[in-house]
Amino acid sequence: MSSRMNPVAARLFAAVVCLLSLLPGAEAADLRPLLKQLASDERSAVVEAVEALGNSGDPLALSILEALQGGTLRLTPAGRALIASDTGSPLQELGSGKAAAADPTALVTPLVSNQVRRAIEPAIAQLQLVSPDGATRLKAARELARRAGPEDAALMRAVLARETEPEIRLALESALARLDLTNPDRDLRLQAIRRIQAQGDIQLKSELVRLTAAKEDGAFAEPDAEVRAAAAAAIHAIDRRQTLVGLVANLLYGLSLGSVLLLAALGLAITFGQMGIINMAHGEMLMLGAYTAYAIQNFVRSALPGLFDYYLVPALPAAFLVCALVGIALERSILRFLYGRPLESLLATWGISLVIIQVVRLVFGAQNVTVANPSWLSGGYAAAPGLVLPYSRVAIVLLGAIVVALVWLLLQRTSLGLQIRAVTQNRPMAASMGVRTAWVDTLTFALGSGVAGIGGVALSQLGNVGPELGQSYIVDSFMVVVLGGVGNIGGAIAGAMGLGIVAKYLEPFTDAVLAKIFLLLFIILFIQKRPQGLFALKGRAAEG
């Protein structure tokens, strides 16, 4: 209000404004100049408008900011805010949801860049802090814990005073603790440091480091010695905790890599152990499984789009069947004649792998194909600060466990499994007991290839699917089988998990390339000492 207005006019003006604010749609009028500023070409003006909206405390401002963040906000030249939808439905009025008519060419889409987004997130958090929904408030409190400035302290204290949920109180207290680190009151600073130590939040560690740092003239940033000592102790505690979290994280990453290797190598352990055939086409079974997942994905997407999220359910058995059938075809036509001839089987299966790769190139194209993750496999679970477990990896560990369990059941509890084990241990004796060894060989090869197919489906969720997918896993599969001992599942599990975990513990220190080199060297040395691998089959025929 102008200072030149006389008092009567000022009071009249205030009264009129109050009356106007009672009218519907008038809330938008208060925000109209800010909306006009959002449409500005200057990113700094947009950032200012966003911050002002955050401070306004107006629930309509929250809808505006959320629409801005989601990219659906459109502004008319007159300053009205409209919501566009990307599914093609008509424009809606902000707040009321009514359909609105507007000239599409005159609409302005506000500029949103990282700089603007960095301002939107705390502004939304400010507005969400007073939301009636607990989950929203918690999210807002956590966001403010990371980015709040001193101007938010009053709001946070006010909300803390009437907040009852313990998790939200915790988040708000840690946010305030961060701000309290620069509070003139010494006791408040000590209290803040103790709170940060208890929380163990690595983001706040740098604030503590700054406290203990010395300025150029030798004086410390933090004048009080006791506070400095407390800060140093807190830094040690946070570091120890981070090291522990890091160790656990690497273990989990190693398990997930190990389960990928296990799914890839399990089939090979079965066929290599059973028939002594070095199957260089094993990687291509993985690739065929991945392409089966791709084909099923396309089929489900076109025929049953609503069930797209569950396309993995038919993809797994389909991949098993496809690869088992390909395995049977291979075994019956070519490999059957190559038992006991390792060099020929190596060359023949290498040639077969090249043929399969080229056939896939002709059918699907030489480039990678896109296999989309279903929504329940995207994202991750934040187990601890600094430790996020992606859902896709957790699912693959579970899948590996299930597949191993099923294969174990098959081998130990069915008659086919009994025959497979008999033929593996002593082929001539099994034959003289009436086991049809040729038929058992075919089924074993089918089983190994089918398991590889399932492994391929898992790989399709993690990385690229292209004709050369198998080539990158064949060496790893052989490493697992050689390390773990041929012909038994326990060896494959031990080999896969061991390699996965060791690789993941080496990587932070040596980089991915060197880690691979060290692993190969380790396996070469291990084989010198123990050629039969970790878990070897015992018995005369097994060594023969």
Binding site: K205, S206, V209, S378, G386, V388, N464, E507
Partner: protein, 437 residues
């Protein structure tokens, strides 16, 4: 035929006659002369995701030139070979193109290791190569024209943007790349550049993964812990399809662009086609062209491309996009065609003299000029943020085209070198002119 079964004299005469007919027929067929243009891009393997579109846009440009009457009265004939992301095979195929197919010019290569592999072949056989991809500099060959960005036209402006307030004010950097010459040299230059900006080695984390690497769990986790405390940015020189699992891991571990922005130098619209880009909104790339640039020239270029895709039923259909190396291939081809017309011949030495000073109106709206001295283009610089639809939104750009510095001033050894193929220097990497007046 006589009784022994061996072909008799009559048979021999018949065969000889047929052979003569065949040669006559083929020579008359060859009378329809064409100018052969070599296309040397990986159509399979880890780099196929990036390079296949370059082959397609090269074929499109050749078709366009042929529709306008060809060059010097002859049609252009493309010779496409597939070196399959195999670097030694690149050299073999380059030799095959020049010696066997007798191509007048080659458009090819993406990775610097492929370019380094073919360089001796082109220099030995005096061929001509147009290299359309951003690279690490430290090279200027008599036989190569570089239509992609040198570090000062891409990497340095990107780092300066990240350090600015608008870009997030980064004070810590993660230099993550694929393990070969381009990322290693670029990171050497960037490290020296960051030292001049008072960012010490303690604030720089340099790490590499092999081609085709797919497991980025530990690396993303390491980035997160390295970033705790200071505003950090990641500079990614990952090449090929490893980018797909890398971006997926970023999304899975919740690494948001507002916290730790990732700027990539080898990821464009084409590489993003196979990824769900919604969790990646806000991450950046630096190029000299984006499909989202709004100029009439770009709309015409995109329309031409989409029509070509439709006409030839290319896989991907409507989802096909244009990107910087495609634009660079187009510019290079147009420049070469102009130079051939000016020189009146496809002879390499004549054309080479004519290419310097050539100017082409590029889809970005600017007049792009080939620098006659260092064989590089003057290019504008754009920095864009990934949008949910896989396009880029420009957040920063230079006012106009910037001259390329083939030899980086930030590395002491190369700061002294000059690339100048005009008289009196006539060299690509010397400290003194060859001919002294």
């Amino acid at each position: 035929m006589n009784g022994t079964g061996k072909p008799g004299k009559t048979w021999k005469r018949v065969l000889g006659g047929l052979a003569m007919l065949a040669t006559v027929a083929s020579t008359t067929a060859r009378a329809e002369e064409t100018i052969k243009v070599g296309i040397l891009h990986s159509l399979s393997g880890t780099m196929a995701i990036s390079e296949t579109s370059l082959k397609d846009v090269a074929l499109m440009t050749i078709e366009e030139i042929n529709e306008k009457g060809g060059l010097l009265g002859k049609k252009l004939e493309p010779v496409v070979v597939d070196p399959a992301s195999n670097w030694p095979l690149f050299a073999e195929k380059a030799r095959e193109l020049i010696q066997q197919h007798k191509v007048a010019v080659t458009f090819g290569c993406w990775t610097s290791v492929s370019r380094k592999s073919v360089l001796p072949v082109f220099e030995e056989l005096n061929g001509l190569l147009f290299y359309p991809v951003q690279y690490e500099g430290e090279e200027s060959s008599y036989n190569v024209f570089y239509t992609g960005a040198a570090p000062n036209q891409q990497a340095i402006p990107a780092v300066e943007y990240l350090m600015s307030k608008e870009g997030g004010g980064a004070r810590r950097f993660v230099l993550l790349g694929t393990d070969y010459v381009y990322p290693r040299t670029t990171n050497k230059i960037l490290r020296a550049f960051l030292h001049t900006k008072k960012i010490g080695d303690a604030d720089i984390l340099e790490t590499y993964t092999p081609f085709g690497h797919a497991d980025y769990q530990t690396i993303v986790s390491k980035i997160k812990s390295f970033a705790a405390g200071k505003p950090t940015a990641v500079i990614s020189t990952i090449n090929g399809d490893s980018n797909v699992p890398f971006y997926k891991e970023l999304a899975n571990q919740g690494l948001k662009a507002t916290d730790i922005p990732v700027v990539a130098f080898s990821v464009g619209e084409e590489e993003l086609r196979g990824i769900d880009t919604k969790p990646l909104v806000g991450h950046l790339a630096a190029w000299n062209y984006f499909m989202s640039i709004k100029t009439p020239e770009n709309s015409a270029f995109i329309a031409k491309w989409k029509a070509y895709v439709k006409k030839h039923n290319l896989p991907g259909g409507d989802a096909r996009v244009t990107n910087d190396p495609m634009e660079a291939t187009y510019i290079g081809m147009m420049m070469w065609a102009d130079a051939v017309r000016q020189a009146g011949t496809t002879d390499v030495d004549a054309v080479r003299q004519a290419i310097g000073y050539q100017t082409v109106k590029s889809p970005s709206g600017f007049d792009i000029r080939m620098d006659e001295k260092n064989h590089h283009l003057w290019k504008p610089v754009y920095i864009g943020e990934i949008q949910a639809n896989g396009q880029f939104q420009v957040v920063w750009k230079t006012k106009g085209p910037v001259r390329a510095q083939a030899w980086s001033p930030y590395i002491p050894d190369s700061a002294k070198k000059i690339a100048d193929w005009t008289y009196p220097w006539v060299c690509g990497n010397c400290t003194a002119p060859k001919y002294v007046n």
